[in-house]
Each structure stands twice: as structure tokens, then as C-alpha cells.
Subunit: 235 residues, 2 copies
DNA sequence: CGCAAAATTGAATAGTCTCAAATGTAGTGG
DNA sequence: CCACTACATTTGAGACTATTCAATTTTGCG
């Protein structure tokens, strides 16, 4: 049986554009890949040899300067596509933040498959356009927001991406979620130092905007005030 | 005669993937559009109704906060594609920095044309992937570089993009170019204030790294030292 | 329980911003 | 051609935010 049929991201990943027959062909050139927390799939500057769909786990995309300063320039979740098709070099490092599973392809194979399956390429285009919008929105944050605004924006984005509602109180939605990032990584996402992130978060806790049950968990108590603090655009 | 045949970006824009017949069809749904310096083609938050190829001129893509803080999140040159296909809203404002010419399409028409022309969609995908890489590289600059590093990086990028060599001296390549940006716009690209940009540039001039014949012109005198100052990755 | 790593807290510093003023530039009409 | 205006840029001084460096506390794990 084709393992794609039971794939957790069957309906979200770019392969959702394929019919069962096509999926069979794709499956023959792909291979399943398990990664451990902390492992890197590819490195900035390397030749682009592999592309992949994320089946489970969270990845960070990073770029760094010689002296070690690092910026997280993207976060990839299940059903996202990583790697650089149609280009020779990886412009960033891709690292697993949790244990993870991928569906990986040799770039050459992928690029041979793709021209015969324009619907899949279309899916990839849509995903890439979404990513571009997201990256550009983040540029506004990096270039123009203050530290409290950055942290508030980050927590809201995370709550939207990761947050199931915690309705234990029966109250209005209070998003609670587990961060897949340590403080240093949050700092690398926001273009701040770990100390500044820590200070902002404890201040928000003291102000009653959020709760921090432990260092990996966040609960948003005052979403409206957090929204206001984030300077989010009313879309 | 189909005006596409004499189009200045015929071989670089996404329509370069089309044969003359297909181009005729595309030409029928597109219309030529002239814009003046300062005019905006679309606004952040608006419905996405138009997409376009840039024929001539330079555009800025911007996003701003309520209080007026603005970030330039992209720059578009001739042969680039602007607008948001396959999505409902424009995530940013597109404004002409110079007088400009476009080849514009109603998004609906464009999206009807596209499925029958996967080679063109492929071109668009390649362009979008390039843009994404560029945006992410810029995120490293915005999040982690200092003011002098930012300005040096910017000047080098501009010299690469706009600079013909000025070989009047017969010497090694000294790139000279005209900035399509005022100082405030440079600040909006780099996530700095106009004053900081100004100070950095005069300092670089005093240090002999660059020359500033007038406020729109730059000549790079010491490319290696500028490179060093920019903390560019040795690719 | 004890250790190493992660996170927090504190104090001092540096870098960038803010506000204000001065200078330079391009364009206009006399 | 020049004076005048409006605007862009530069320069300066001071304030403030975020960083740096150092020390302490907390956390997770063997």
C-alpha cells in the first residue's frame, strides 16, 4: 500500500494536488526521514540537493553572520515544504526543533517530476506566495517594532498557530500553548537578546497580560491588550 | 502587431515562457499602464484585484503601522511581477519611485489564463522563490546588523543592482550609481531613522570608502572595505 | 541530591533615536 | 539671472532603549 494514503499531511501538503496514481509515482522517488531535535537537514551556503515535505515536527530556518549572530528567518510546520527547488544553493540552515518526520526528495528527482504535474507546482506556488507575505510582514516587525511590540506580536502569532483554546474555566477563549522555542530562539526570531525577551515576558506576566506556568508554556490572559501592545494592523 | 514583441522585458518577465500565440492571448487580457513617480498601484489591506509586470521604473513595497512607522519590505524592478495572485488581499502598498510603465492584468483574468500555461506559472514560481530568498536575507540584516553594517550592505546591494562600472579612470571597477531613493526611503529599507542613515553615509565618505557627488549619487571607492564592514557572508 | 544548562535579574554602557536647528538643494516666478 | 520658497539633508545635544557583562536563580536530568 502507498504510505501516502495514511499520511498525516495528505490534505495540506503540496502533494494534495495529486491523484492516487500520481501519488504512487511521487512516493517511489521520495523517502521517509526521521530527525531528532537539534539535527539539521541542510546548511546555509550548501548546494541544494534535497527538498522535503514536513510530516511532523517544527523546524527553524536560520541565517547567521560570521561572528555568530543568528536570525531565525522562518519557521516550518507540518505540511510545509522546505528546501530550495529550482536553485543551486540553500540560502539558510534548516534545523529540527523537535523530533520530526519528513518526506524527502532528491532535488533532481523532484524537478523531473514537477513539470508533468502542474497542479502540484501550483500548490507549491501558493505556499511560496504565502511564505513571502509572512516573511515580509515579519520584516515590518524586525525593522520598526519596539521590544514590547515584538514580544506581544510573537505571542499572538504563536497562539494563533499553536493555540488550542483552554476552556477549563468555561470562560472566553484563553489561548494556552507550548512554545517549541527556548528563550534564545525567541530572541533569534525577534532580533533581540535573550535578556530583553526575558525581561519583556516577566513584565507582561507581572502586568497580568499573560501567565507563564513553566518556561515552555504560555497562557494569554488579556488578548485585547496584547493585541494593542503589538501594534497589529486592523486587517 | 502584438506590442509584446517589442517589450523591453520580453525575455525576463514571466511571459518569456510563452510562445507568440500564447502571448497574443495574454496581450488581449492585459493593458499597458503608465504611472508617475509617487503614485500607488495598490494599497496594503485592499482586495487583490490587479497584478502586473513591471516594464520600466522602480517600485517600493511598503507596510506600515498605525502611527506612521513604515518599512520598505521589497523593491521591484523592470521584469519583476507585483501584486498578489491566488490570494484575496494585498499585504502591502506598491508605489512608483520613478515614472514607470506596467503591463497590468485583472487578477481574475490572470488566474484564468494561468492554469493553461504551466510554463508561465513555473516562471512565476521561480521569481517568487527568488524573492523569498531575498526577503529572508534582508531579515538577517534587519534583525541582527548594526547601523554601519546595514548601510554598507545596502550600498553594495544597490551597486550590484544598479551599478554600471564607471571606468573613466581606467582603474579597477569603481561602481557608481544613482539611488532611486531619498534618505528617508533608505531609512525605511534598513529599519533606521533618516538621521542615522545620514550620519553613517557622511562618516563613510569622510573615511574615504565612498564618494557622494550629490544626494542621489554614490560612488564606491573601497569595495573590499565596504564588504568587510557589511559582514557579508562569503558565499 | 547534585550538576549543567537555561533563564532571570541587576547595573552600567553603547548605540540609536528624538527633538531642534542649521545647511543645502531644486524649482518657481519675478 | 536671481531671489524666494519649500523641501531634503545634515549636524548637534540629550534622552532612552536595548545591549553587554556579570551574578543569581531556576529547571531538568542523571
Amino acid at each position: 500500500m502507498n504510505p501516502c494514503e495514511t499520511c498525516a499531511v495528505r490534505n495540506q501538503a503540496i502533494c494534495s494536488a495529486l491523484n492516487p496514481d500520481e501519488l504512487g509515482v511521487l512516493n517511489r522517488i521520495g523517502r521517509s526521514l526521521s530527525m531528532q531535535k537539534g539535527q539539521s537537514l541542510m546548511w546555509e551556503g550548501d548546494q541544494s540537493l534535497t527538498v522535503a515535505n514536513i510530516i511532523s515536527g517544527v523546524f527553524k530556518l536560520t541565517s547567521s553572520l560570521d561572528d555568530g549572530r543568528e536570525q531565525i528567518i522562518g519557521i516550518a510546520y507540518p505540511s510545509d515544504f522546505v528546501g530550495r527547488p529550482f536553485g543551486n544553493t540553500n540560502e539558510y540552515t534548516v534545523t529540527a526543533l523537535t523530533d520530526a518526520k519528513l518526506c524527502a526528495f532528491a532535488r533532481a528527482d523532484f524537478e523531473k517530476f514537477t513539470p508533468q504535474h502542474p497542479q502540484m507546482e501550483h500548490k507549491l506556488l501558493e505556499k511560496t506566495l504565502d511564505e513571502l507575505d509572512r516573511a515580509r510582514r515579519w520584516m515590518l516587525l524586525l525593522g520598526r517594532k519596539t521590544a514590547p511590540e515584538k514580544v506581544a506580536s510573537f505571542l499572538l502569532e504563536m497562539s494563533q498557530k499553536l493555540g488550542g483554546n483552554d476552556c477549563s474555566t468555561g470562560d472566553t477563549a484563553l489561548a494556552a500553548f507550548e512554545l517549541p522555542f527556548g528563550r534564545q530562539q525567541v530572541a533569534d526570531i525577534l532580533g533581540l537578546t535573550i535578556e530583553t525577551v526575558s525581561r519583556q515576558m516577566t513584565q507582561m506576566k507581572k502586568a497580568g497580560l499573560i501567565d507563564l506556568p513553566d518556561r515552555r508554556h504560555v497562557r494569554i490572559l488579556q488578548p485585547e491588550q496584547l493585541e494593542e501592545m503589538s501594534m497589529a494592523q486592523p486587517v
